[in-house]
Amino acid sequence: MLYGSGMEADKPLECSACKKPITIFYTEVVGDTKTCLGMCSDCPILKHKLYGYDSEEPAEGLSSTEDTTLCCGVCGTSIEDVLMGHPLGCAECYTIFDDVITKGVEVDNHAPKRVDISTKNVSTHIGRAPGEMVEVSPSLRLGILSETLKETLSREDYEQAAWIRDQIKKIEGGKSNV
């Protein structure tokens, strides 16, 4: 249920998230539990509740010059700090500013396109977790050199090809220049 501002005079006057004047009251009924939140019109929590992470709406704060002041309750880092590229203040910031960070990573093109990080609750980190030890094999380099060797032979650069073959032998023997 969504109410416009001023409809209930006894509600709190500040947004529960960012201390801006309340313009929207959001009431959610799940089973027997009813929760009521007062929010400003810019509130990212509202956007999450209305549209979820699949929304086509741009992430809060990334698209506009709107003045938002969502802050991390643990360290006090504000959404402006995050948008301006300042370091995050604590681990909790990743939860509070989840959508901004996700969109920021996308916008800045820091994650490869093949990794879909726009969908809610999808694990985007695909590497190790703490405590895991996975060895990386030197055969990675052999693969790259073999590919380069093919490319070099295809353009008939035999001098280069000979040098690459030497490097492959050196890796196999434990010493290489690349």
Binding site: Y94, V115, H125, I126, R128, M133, V134, V136, I144, S176
Partner: protein, 350 residues
């Protein structure tokens, strides 16, 4: 401090003609404390002593020692930055911040500067996979005693969200004079998929200008990739660059390129006869001489020696070599003196 590093000057044992060094970094934070930017003084000290307990007992390190940033002068911090080829500045590191090194001369940990922990290995040569395995073993050993901040979605949580995920960044320092002076580097960048890779100068700056013809290749993605993916991406570009540079050097050698011969001769003259040398001038001239050594145009010096002179004429190493503070005005004079002495027996064959 110097003893651990003086006996293990990495560049002194490097005979590689193109690859000067590589650095591998892991950015980590503790889940229970605010990140350094929001960390109060008393908690900063707690974090520091926590790491002191964990790192000094780490059995994978060779006699690790702690260096308190508050007790180090700026020349010592600069020496550390030069030795480990760090691209991050920590000149202003002070109380509640510090460093760990060990007898290998390759291990470096920075505490409470941007992240709680920057774990780092600097190596000469191209053994990225082995170095990565070693670094991860050190990190995993530490993880038995402390909890790193981690989330399923963002992986290891870094202060800079662009470095979350693996929190793993590689820099490979390549010497590419033949490609740079022939314009081939620009062509290479246009013709290759450089996604997720950036080329910087020796300080890591993306300016398009490469002092001393040193190009650093580093990954810009840390999230959504495994460490093996990152190594593969960086190594892919590094291998192609090395092969191209090698090819260009072969052409210069076979064609007896007059322009390059002229450059080598002029660089020789500058280094042998100058009384004052600024850093950039020294780097650029030494780069050309280093190329000349590989082409066989410069004799009586090997790659190991020229690599050593190339990196050891930087300010803090120079100060250390002369064993005392050098006035700013005397620095360029001392640099010229040092290089002239080191290249005393060098001759041209062209």
């Amino acid at each position: 401090m110097y003893d651990a590093l003086r006996n293990n000057r990495l560049v002194d044992n490097n005979d590689n003609t193109i690859c000067l060094a590589s650095t591998l970094k892991l950015y980590r934070n503790l889940g229970k404390y605010p990140f350094p930017g929001k960390l109060e003084s008393d908690k900063r000290k707690q974090v520091l002593s926590l790491f002191e307990g964990v790192i000094l007992k780490n059995s994978l390190l060779k006699k690790p020692v702690f260096l308190n940033a508050a007790e180090l002068d700026s020349a010592s911090k600069e020496f550390l930055a030069e030795h480990f080829l760090t691209t991050e500045g920590f000149q202003r590191a002070s109380t509640g911040e510090g460093f760990f090194i060990d007898d290998s001369g390759e291990f470096f940990a920075i505490i409470n500067v941007i992240n709680h922990l920057q774990l780092m290995l600097t190596i000469c040569g191209g053994e990225l996979e082995k170095a990565r395995n070693r670094l991860v073993k050190i990190e995993t050993e530490m993880g038995k005693s402390i909890d790193f901040a981690f989330s399923q979605k963002f992986g290891f949580l870094a202060s800079n969200p662009e470095q979350c995920g693996t929190g793993f960044v590689i820099d490979v320092f390549l010497h590419l004079p033949a490609m740079i002076h022939s314009g081939e580097l620009e062509r290479f960048i246009e013709n290759n998929d450089m996604k997720g890779i950036a080329l910087g100068d020796i300080q890591g700056n993306i300016s398009g200008t490469f002092v001393g013809d040193v190009v650093t290749v580093h990954n810009t993605h840390t999230l959504g990739l495994t460490e093996a993916n990152i190594i593969q991406n960086v190594q892919g570009i590094v291998t192609k660059l090395v092969v191209e540079e090698q090819g260009m050097r072969g052409k210069l050698r076979n064609d007896e390129n007059l322009d390059m011969k002229d450059m080598v001769s002029k660089a020789y003259g500058i280094l042998k006869y100058a009384y004052q040398l600024q850093t950039v001038e020294a780097f650029n001239s030494l780069s050309i001489i280093k190329l000349g050594v590989d082409l066989g145009w410069v004799e009586n010096i090997d790659q190991r020696k020229i690599n050593s002179v190339f990196l050891n004429n930087r300010r803090a190493h120079l100060v250390h070599t002369y064993g005392r503070d050098i006035d700013k005005e005397d620095l360029s004079g001392k640099r010229a003196e040092y290089i002239k002495h080191e290249l005393e027996s060098v001759t041209l064959t062209i």
